[in-house]
Amino acid sequence: MGSLVEVSKLTIAAGDATLVDALSFTIRPGEVLALIGESGSGKTTTALALMGYARHGCRIAAGQVRIDDIDVLKLDARQLRALRGRKVAYIAQSAAASFNPSRCILDQVVEPATLHGTLTRAQAELQAIALFRELALPDPEGIGARYPHQVSGGQLQRLMAAMALITDPDVVILDEPTTALDVTTQVEVLRAFKRVVRERQVTAVYVSHDLAVVAQMADHILVLRGGRMQELGGTDRVLAQPAHEYTQQLLAAARPVARDSGHQAGSTPALLEVSGVGAGYGARDAQGRPKVCILQDIDLRLERGQAVGVIGESGSGKTTLARAVAGLLAPSAGAIRFDGQPLAPTLAERSKEELRRIQIVFQSADTALNPSQTIENILARPLQFYRGLKGAALQRRIAELLDLVKLPATVAGRLPGGLSGGQKQRVNLARALAAEPELLLCDEVTSALDTVVGAAVLDLIAELRRELGLSILFISHDLHTVRAVCDEIVVMRNGRKLAQVARPDFDRGPHHPYYEQLARAVPELRRGWLEELDQPRPVRVVA
């Protein structure tokens, strides 16, 4: 059997820069090829080129893309319109941004079929309902009548897959379809995708930066870096015996490495004590409860030098907890004690010294660094503000900080826009460290980063902890990450604390069922994990 997709010497350029450099690969019918690499490696650019599309400012400079017997790059605009959505379909990362919020879902799902004239409206609706059922969507007959905001993110992602599959396309491109989802939702979506791909014999290109996800879906893996192919091989082979050094790095970053600081529980006094804290937004009623309760009755104890992880899906209140500790949101109930002293509820009531001792590091370094200040100014401010440093002493300290987070001294004069995501996150950390804090609140610090870069930042945090004796409250939705750096894990859901698990018990049950569910939902770096998940699990006997 020949190949369905044939890409040879594909080169894509933007101005003088080459984004994709002479890339060649083939996909046979019914196979799934994964494009994997860090951001900026050209994986999405390559996937879009399969539809004959180059993003604004980019152009396809050379090469050939054949799908079936069509030379995609030679088509004119009208022929491309006929190809897209009919022969090649695209599933984007953010389904929420891809649906029109003012039209009902069914209208949008059947649109490709009616537009290309492959089915009549009535047939298309039947086909859509069949797809909804295959994708394990609840209420397949009725869900089409809803609007995009009335279904969850994971459901929307599956609805988008239905929209792509309704024309029975030859090739489907999935561009990071689960990256924006929680782990538990991700599993559901992956499971649905896997089933459809298997049953319909779909030929697909799966773009992702997550090797563990790719291991579940792909037959072949193509590793990209800087627009060049590093390695191409069967999934089993690439996972078991990565030939290229970069693939080995990727694999190493994807495997959880415990970064143990050797902290013994109970060996140091408590630094942060949160007791019975509740918080929320809106006007308060007679009992002092806010209109919308985000947090309820949270107890937490963090010892000096300890790292405590707070984990939960989005909307579980974990970020609100950090905001309450930082003083950005006054708790409506309970008390927060820091180093034995009660902590005032709002920023205005806390002393400068109290503020200095607790520093917060935000998720997205893009919005956490002022784009109009140089790195030097960003780092200088806390030093001037808390320590009153000036002149040579200030310069020396800035250089020390950059060195501490392993950035070259040359970045000092640059603006944040000129740095990569990982570098920005390091500056973000350095700014917090400039205040010489005792407690660092890390809010999803690695979730906007690629696996390799994220692992490097985690290494850095673990190292800083050892060297500076920092205590860390680490907030994340990724159990993987939390297990890697934390001594204890607090599990939250719907604003309540469900369980607290210490490091020795991470892998030893029994745990709260929700923790078990989270733990199981983290994809493992081997094939067949997704299938095993569906089989009934043996009942574990507790000794």
Partner: protein, 289 residues
Amino acid sequence: MTVLSIPLPDGRRAAWRRRLAQFGPSGLLGLAVLSFWLLAALFGPALLARSGAHGGAAVFAPISAEHWLGTDYLGRDMLARVIEGARYTVGVALVATLLASTTGTLLALLAAASNRWIDGTLSRLLDTLTAIPSKMFALLVVAGFGSSVPVLVITAAIIYVPGAFRIGRSLAVNINAMDYVTVARTRGEGTWYVMRREILPNILGPMLADLGLRFVYVVLLLASLSFLGLGVQPPMADWGSLVRENIGALADGGASVIAPAAAIASLTIAVNLAIDNLPGRKARERGAR
């Protein structure tokens, strides 16, 4: 008066030259025209051979060696009238625009960075001001305080503060929600620091573009006030009233109406060219995307 010339250190002079070079050809053109009019407003009348108040020549005379821009409807020298008018237009309009934009931006920053009470009070107060028709407001002020240059400047500034405030606030509110502003707050920074160092640099680009537009509006407002007899009082005239006075020459294409109109156009274009090419602004636009 002795003029002190302070020699700049070489490094600083080089930095100035570099900064000027960053303006690019169109920006430098704008700067040149702008500084020409500023100098004309400051020193022009002193250098003129005859004052614009002297009449007696032929009415609507064409361009000649004696009258470089012809004469107006009373036979006064047009060049002198335009140069003297620069004082009013450049002075009143530029000062009023700067005053309006600066005040508007400052209030916008305060509204965005402080609590919602201050925000609400400021927003509603300035909304009330917008509700009063601008010409009516000017009429009231001039009727109450008489027409003089300071009154005109302040009136024009007050009329255009709410617009600058609205734009500035909508920009600043977005910046205020950014994590770096939250970080500054958790550091314990005061409102003034947050306004000045964290928010202002990030809204400066659009605010400057707005200033350029607003300048055009103020020139138009002054011209229409003069038309109503509320602006600069005859025999002195700003460019807007020069156009109105000599509108009779338009049918013949007389220089007396074209000259002040061209002066208004050149000044507004120059202001916008200079602002659009500010070095920092271009760099930020490049850096942001």
